[in-house]
């Protein structure tokens, strides 16, 4: 089974600029994470954009949607900032019904050494290989369908709506 990973940025891939003292994006760390994980999954990886999801536009989301539609693979993982992950998931769910799409992210950048990213990537890739067609968010070890998930802004935790 082949899995397609689309990278869109988010906390996952943020780095520390030591001259400016600020966080920024350079390259994605997903390939490095897959190497560390000794992943043997047959993966096709493509970086669509590198943005903070608070800055993600409707145009950005349409690019993600189109890429999911065009992908040869039926099993897709999308790395995404957590702040608007649920919005992107909802858009994808309206547009695609014949694939398994799992969005995931991290609360702490992978480069900071104490990130939840590797755990989330592992669970997202497993969910993408086993769940039926649909769009899902995999965070904190759990998996939510796109029409029943919200990020609690106070706690940073994804929860069911109902």
């Amino acid at each position: 089974m082949k899995v397609c990973i689309f990278v869109t940025g988010g906390t996952f891939d943020k780095e520390y600029n030591e001259l400016a003292g600020e966080l920024f994006f350079k390259d994605t760390h997903v390939p490095e994470m897959l190497t560390l994980a000794r992943s043997r999954i047959d993966i096709s990886l493509r970086t669509l954009m590198m943005v903070d999801s608070l800055n993600m536009t409707e145009s950005d989301r349409r690019i993600i949607l189109q890429n999911c539609k065009d992908a040869a693979e039926d099993h897709i993982v999308i790395t995404h900032g957590t702040d608007t992950m649920a919005e992107t998931a909802a858009l994808l769910a309206r547009g695609i019904t014949n694939k398994v799409i799992v969005l995931t992210g991290a609360m702490v950048p992978y480069k900071f050494g104490s990130s939840d990213g590797l755990f989330n990537l592992g669970s997202a890739l497993a969910y993408a290989q086993t769940l039926p067609h649909g769009v899902y968010i995999a965070m904190n070890g759990k998996c939510f369908p796109a029409d029943n998930v919200v990020k609690n802004k106070q706690t940073g935790i994804f929860e069911s709506l109902k």
Copy 2:
């Protein structure tokens, strides 16, 4: 959905004894890993033993089998040394057919900073929540049924038998 984690030791939980310069077992790091992962899964964790799987006896394996049978949960993850993980999986598959049991492990100790353990734990917990009844090994992002998996001793990678 509640998931039960049984800890049996393995590379996962090895630490470095700085006085002796040797690897040894103290406590399991699984709770620390779940905290780092910000896991929100409802988990019941129990340490059954802390052994290198090369030293695991038939008696040890029967203890694991009995605990899986006795567990109130239908979804079980077992952390286990990789060297004899396939043997334990085979024994469990012969004895239990009405639960989802996923064995996982690591090639590098969690405490060494560059471990595959967090990724494997994330994927094992996802597989345990989604797969049908059966016994499986989750390593390197993939999942193998207990009757069709072997560890390649040369490469350290788990592969299908057939």
Copy 3:
């Protein structure tokens, strides 16, 4: 020989706020660093403030000066943001001549896993135990007297003025 460490903040002690996605100060990591280092130096540690050195006021600097004067110890290390470290060093050098004072800092927060902080702390503590009375900046393995040092803003490296 007893060494006094005064903590003033700086990149050294910055942490990542995973809800806001921003860097902030909580507690100093210097005690944790000394434990990791297995330091056996007799140390008296006091946190004077937790500020980004770009926000350090003249009043803050007078607090540092007064604490250096009042300290019972003759050997002092000050952790400090790098941006205005040279200014604080110059002020201290004008006010104190009978002690060894070594300022140090980091380009990357200690918590980010790839920090220069532990190396700089080790060298600053060594310089504080061996150099003659005076005020110094210890960064990048080197040590500069307070009247002959500047931070190159383009490269982030401390250099001699002359």
Copy 4:
């Protein structure tokens, strides 16, 4: 001021072989550590051997002595296993009196993420630049002359003899 670093192995440079589950030596991590430290010291580095100091022979020690004698630099740091560091220091002290030689090491391998190595390297390089001619051991932030130091085997800590 130029500093010469001689690498001889020790815990400092041990790595984890994930197939055998054992510690072993490959290449030295000192250049990587100096890069992480953003060291600006003018350094000449040479790997003399890669051995556990328990296995270091008299012949090995004579190689170290000869290299220290032959070095163009007057300021030398030697990375060394801790178990017989005091013996090598004593031999060097008998043979060389016109240079500053500082031996240092680590209790935990640099690659394990929680190593004291970076701190010890920082302090050893500072001591090598500031102390008068002599042979010293720099560990745990302190510095001992070669004729007054012993490793306490129970605690792993270096102490004065008298």
